[in-house]
């Protein structure tokens, strides 16, 4: 099912503080369907805060975040339905199995059937681990499970904070494949990363917070 083509994520004069320090201000971003935005900057420059502001988890001190022209504060339900976020922590319960984690992820709007879950586990190369408790997985496998949750959400906008953490070369390649597929389908991607990436440069914009 293709994503709507009129979606836009924009920010107007966005500014955020942390611990009494202005991290960034007057930030103007725009992400269109099929486009990726990569946030760069050294440690502590505010990448995580920026991404969390885009999700609505952090309220910016200045400016606004707009989804399809409306402030995300106006209709958070509709915005969240189109959003999937992965932060530093994976958002998976260690005491539940992989399948249970995905079934209870609650981000899917429709009921999940077993074949959906199995095919997603297959896509992230975790097939066979379905009934394993998540805490027995390695850090890289847990990250893949978080990516599986992302796929199940079927959200148009992906906001990912350092998604490559704990992933090996294969994992990074897998993620880049999934990201390209997502963009091909009209999805949107905003992410931060320390790793060099090989996303298609024609549809990737870079924004550096150090400037």
């Amino acid at each position: 099912m293709p994503y709507p083509t009129h979606s836009r994520l924009t920010t107007t004069r966005l500014g955020c503080m942390r611990d009494q320090r202005m991290l960034f201000n007057q930030v103007e971003l725009s992400v269109l369907p099929g486009a990726a935005l990569v946030i760069e900057g050294r440690n502590g420059s505010g990448k995580t805060t920026l991404l969390r502001s885009l999700c609505g988890l952090h309220s910016p001190e200045e400016g606004e975040v707009l989804w399809c022209g409306n402030s995300i504060l106006n209709d958070p339900s509709a915005f969240h339905a189109s959003l999937a976020y992965t932060g530093h922590r994976n958002g998976i319960k260690p005491q539940l199995s992989c399948v249970e984690n995905l079934r209870f992820s609650g981000t899917a709007s429709a009921d999940l059937c077993n074949s959906d879950i199995d095919s997603v586990l297959n896509t992230v190369e975790l097939d066979g681990y379905g009934s394993q408790l998540a805490r027995r997985l390695s850090a890289g496998q847990q990250r893949r499970l978080a990516l599986a949750r992302l796929l199940l959400a079927r959200a148009q906008l992906w906001i990912l904070d350092e998604p490559f953490t704990a992933l090996n070369k294969n994992g990074i390649a897998l993620f880049e494949r999934l990201a390209e597929d997502h963009l091909d389908a009209g999805g949107m991607l905003v992410m931060s990363s320390h790793h060099p990436m090989t996303l298609n440069p024609d549809r990737t914009t870079r924004f550096n917070l150090d400037t």
Binding site: L57, S77, A78, L83, Y85, R89, G91, E100, F104, G106
Partner: protein
């Protein structure tokens, strides 16, 4: 609701977490008769207060787990980003929490009432106060937990925030049991407890959701 089932499943996997508060409740109530010793009249006078203080402290002990593990593994921010209204999700979590902590206390209370020499005529009142009061405590406590979940050592602060709000519940509940013990119908106290529960039910989920957003920003 999906979240309710998930939390109940997690509670089954983490049995130690739910057992602790219940054990605390049982221990406090069971040790009191030993301490009161050869003064059964004294025990009878304070039994209604003792059982409810034990229930209140056990509830306070159990509150920390309400949001902590979700906060630590990142599930809490996923909850806030769900398309479903946060207050509804919070209500599901509090319900699951009550089923695993408050409900066992209600079920075990007749046994403890026996240990504390509460007269059998007061047993129904005891059950009513626990059934009305423990959900109210969970709801009120949730606001405090939501405010302190991001802090490293929020335990003391949580108690300070929450205890003043717990006191009305404690006062009405123990007074209801006391009245029933001496043969007077505790209608007034039970009605007040019920209204406290309704107040908590209507205000707490929204307040807790707002507190979570503050803690996670």
């Amino acid at each position: 609701m999906l979240l309710l089932r998930r939390d109940l499943l997690l509670a089954c996997r983490n049995r130690a977490e739910i057992a602790n508060p219940l054990l605390f409740f049982i221990l406090v109530a069971a040790l009191f008769p030993l301490a009161a010793g050869p003064q059964p009249e004294l025990l009878q006078k304070i039994a209604s207060g003792v059982i409810w203080v034990a229930a209140l402290l056990a509830n306070l002990l159990s509150l920390d787990v309400l949001f902590r593990s979700d906060y630590e593994d990142g599930s809490l921010e996923q909850l806030l980003l769900s398309p479903h209204p946060t207050s509804l999700l919070v209500l599901s979590k509090i319900t699951a929490h009550w089923i695993t902590t408050g409900l066992p206390m209600v079920l075990v209370s007749p046994l403890l009432a026996g240990l504390l020499s509460i007269p059998a005529s007061a047993y129904p009142t005891l059950l009513y106060t626990l059934m009305l009061g423990t959900p109210a405590l969970s709801l009120i406590g949730a606001i405090g937990v939501a405010l302190t979940v991001g802090l490293q050592r929020g335990g003391i602060l949580l108690s300070l925030l929450v205890l003043p709000l717990y006191i009305p519940v404690l006062v009405f509940a123990s007074d209801a049991i006391h009245s029933a013990s001496i043969g007077m119908a505790p209608v007034a106290q039970l009605s007040l407890l019920a209204s406290l529960l309704v107040l908590a039910l209507s205000l707490s989920p929204t307040a807790t959701a707002a507190a979570l957003r503050i803690s996670l920003s």
